[in-house]
């Protein structure tokens, strides 16, 4: 498999502005609080239904039960921004979501986001794995998902340490089970 994330980073960094752009997006989405999904959907030019499917799809790619949907909403926000500005991206996303929906309609009689059985959704994703839509979502959402400082404590990661003087007095060598 291609290291798609790195490809995406190379492409974004070489275009520059990636960090500024994504940070701004995350911040903007964060302040909108509970209306975050709806407002993000409006700016995306994607329907609210499509945004819901996109979020569900992203969650299925990177499924962590410990994470509230709000983390996934932030993960898809940069992609929604891109879709709002770029017709080709909008078309790619809408087309891919339509495929997922068609697949689950056939297998379970419901649109993708409404299918409660994860294995049914996973089967639908497997049919599009490695395609342009899959790659685009995989590449565009992974970093914004895992690079959220608010998410790190959910995995026990403590983040920046220099301001606290590193870990020299904060447990770099405190293992007790060996």
């Amino acid at each position: 498999m291609r290291h798609m994330l790195l490809r995406e980073l190379v492409s974004k960094f070489s275009r520059r502005g990636f960090l500024r752009g994504s940070a701004a997006t995350v911040a903007a989405v964060a302040v909108s609080g509970t209306t975050l999904l709806a407002s993000a959907a409006e700016t995306a030019g994607l329907s609210a239904e499509d945004s819901r499917a996109l979020l569900k799809f992203t969650r299925d790619l990177f499924p962590h039960d410990r994470l509230h949907d709000s983390f996934y909403a932030k993960a898809i926000a940069p992609l929604q921004d891109e879709a709002a500005k770029d017709a080709a991206t909008r078309k790619l996303l809408a087309g891919g979501i339509a495929q997922l929906n068609a697949s689950t309609m056939a297998s379970a009689g419901k649109p993708f986001a409404d299918v409660p059985d994860e294995s049914v959704r996973v089967a639908a994703i497997k049919q599009i794995e490695g395609g342009a839509f899959f790659d685009k979502v995989y590449n565009s959402t992974m970093t914004p998902l895992y690079n959220q400082p608010e998410l790190w404590p959910k995995f026990g990661y403590e983040g920046p340490s220099s301001a606290q003087g590193g870990y020299i007095n904060r447990g770099f060598s405190d293992i007790d089970w060996l």
């Binding site: 290291h3 403590e158 340490s161």
Partner: protein, 523 residues
């Protein structure tokens, strides 16, 4: 005070690149009173700009100029546009390096003699041996403050290291320790000691790690004999009718072309950019590229046998706490062909913060199984297999036939095919690392194929005979006497050790030779 030299000052030594090789050479020559102009393609950052931000610093440091790749190696599939992870800024890759500072072993300088003729490989003995380099290793260790050498205490073991050592002991290894690191374990040389931040690769915010950015470059400037021009990408080396180099043409930060005259040119842009520059300096007199009568420029690209194994435990490790790479098992670094391969490998700690780990894990994979590994993030331990890969003529850097960068310079293609020896070593490493972690209770292990290459070697190799390589025992071009190569591209073999200490030792040795030859009027 930094010097300021005229473009037409043909008395200067021009050094291309300011990393381990170029930065060290610049400092040494300047301290000997020799005028030096360092041309660095990247920007200049200050230590105060470093942040504990994996994704952000990856963006700030990395050499993202376009490259392509080809061949059977995994990286050509997983990361074709970024085959190597090197830095583009003053200080070069010493800004992000992990600071493992190991000497090559005796047999690694004599691979052709010791390993024999390996089919499909292009082995050659270095024209120097360990004895000859040993005094320069000593000096390199002292100036870099390498722990575990010359009475400098080793760093304390982190949780992550203790897990590695416990597993190593359990399966019968004996050569494990906190690594020889160019990171201060005690305050030294006007710099702080390691605070165990865990962010070595993002630039050490305490300056405890050796880097030419804030050590050699300012020291060189303080002599008044060195000028460092950042954001200056050298495009071509020029020569006269006698076949001596006369200077370089480079694009300055405004994108304007400048010509800096020179008495000597030393190329230290790493094993991808250095051969690219020599190949792009082809002329009617040197149609194959500068310094390339052997046809070996760009060939014998080596990048180590590397892979990573993560052990998943059911108790916390917190691998991100503490000096990132300070922990090593050296038992497999020996030469022992009973294992089914020549050369050896080390096992070195490879922690990652959550953002790096989660985004680099198992490229292309998704779903519950992958996510479950991330769910266990605090319970993970990671070890990097780093072993000797074999020189092959066909593993090489070439100029792309069509694609050019923004200055019109052809971009490099990096071609590498795994040798069967590389794969045998990699498999052995996987087995041993699995056994190590499982011996102390890992529930599972996750194998990771190579990340983009951080170690890049060969491509302008040293040789006794001009027909076998590009430079002589001092890194001096066989063809062009006032042209030098000062980085890891000089390496004749890759060894199983991280290359930086050897690059610095070679630069120290080369600086004496250059000064001597200049004083004799030989160059």
């Amino acid at each position: 005070m930094p010097a300021k030299f005229d473009f037409n000052d043909s008395s200067v030594v021009v050094i291309v690149g300011s990393g381990a090789g170029g930065g060290t050479l610049a400092n040494e020559l300047a301290k000997k009173g020799i005028s030096v102009v360092v041309l660095e393609a990247g920007k200049r950052m200050e230590l105060t700009e470093f942040k504990n931000d994996e994704i952000g610093m990856f963006g700030a440091f990395t050499w993202f100029d376009p490259r392509t790749s080809s061949g059977s190696w995994y990286v050509a599939k997983s990361s074709p546009d970024l085959p190597a992870w090197t830095c583009k800024l003053v200080g070069g890759t010493t800004v992000h390096w992990g600071a493992c500072a190991l000497r090559f072993q005796e047999h690694e300088f004599k691979t052709r003699t010791r390993y024999g003729a390996i089919p499909g490989a292009n082995l050659l003995d270095w024209p120097i041996d360990l004895n000859e380099l040993a005094p320069y290793y000593d000096r390199a260790e002292l100036r870099m403050g390498v722990t575990g050498t010359h009475g400098i205490p080793r760093l304390p073991a982190s949780n992550h290291g203790k897990v590695l050592f416990a597993g190593a002991k359990k399966i019968g290894y004996t050569q494990y320790m906190t690594t020889n690191m160019a990171i201060n374990s005690v305050p030294r040389d006007g710099r702080a000691s390691c605070q165990q931040t865990g962010f070595c690769v993002q630039g050490c915010t305490f300056g405890a790690k050796w880097s030419t950015l804030y050590i050699d470059v300012p020291q060189a400037e303080a002599t008044g004999k060195a000028e460092v021009r950042a954001e200056s990408q050298v495009l071509r080396i020029e020569h006269d009718a006698a076949g001596k180099v006369t200077g370089v043409v480079y694009a300055d930060r405004a994108g304007n072309l400048q010509r800096q005259k020179a008495r000597i040119v030393a190329v230290a842009g790493n094993s991808i950019e250095s051969p690219r520059l020599l190949l792009n300096s082809a002329s009617t007199q040197f149609p194959q590229g500068l310094a390339n009568s052997s046809g070996q420029v760009g060939r014998n690209y080596m990048r180590h046998v590397t892979s990573t194994v993560f052990g998943v435990f059911d108790k916390p490790v917190h691998m991100y706490r503490g000096t990132a790479q300070s922990g090593i098992v050296m038992d497999e670094a020996r030469l022992d062909t009973n294992r089914g391969f020549v050369g050896g490998y080390n096992l070195e700690l490879l922690p990652q913060g959550l953002p790096s780990f989660a985004t680099n894990l198992l490229p292309g994979e998704w779903g519950r199984d992958r996510a479950s590994v991330i769910d266990n993030y605090v319970n993970l331990a990671g070890v990097w297999i780093i072993g000797e890969d074999l020189a092959r003529e066909t593993n090489r850097i070439t100029l792309h036939p069509e694609r050019k960068d923004k200055y019109g310079m052809p971009i490099p293609n990096v071609h590498s095919d795994d040798h069967p020896n590389d794969l045998a070593m990699q498999n052995h490493g996987f087995q041993q690392a699995d056994a190590l972690y499982k011996s102390i209770g890992a529930k599972r292990t996750v194998h990771h194929l190579p990340f983009p290459s951080t170690h890049n070697m060969g491509t302008n190799r040293m040789s006794e005979k001009p027909q076998d390589g590009v430079v002589n025992r001092f890194g001096q071009s066989h063809d062009v006497k006032n042209l030098f190569v000062s980085d890891g591209s000089q390496f004749t073999s890759s060894g199983g050790e991280n290359p930086t200490l050897t690059i610095v030792a070679l630069a120290l040795r080369q600086s004496e030779y250059i000064a001597d030859q200049m004083s004799k009027g030989a160059i």
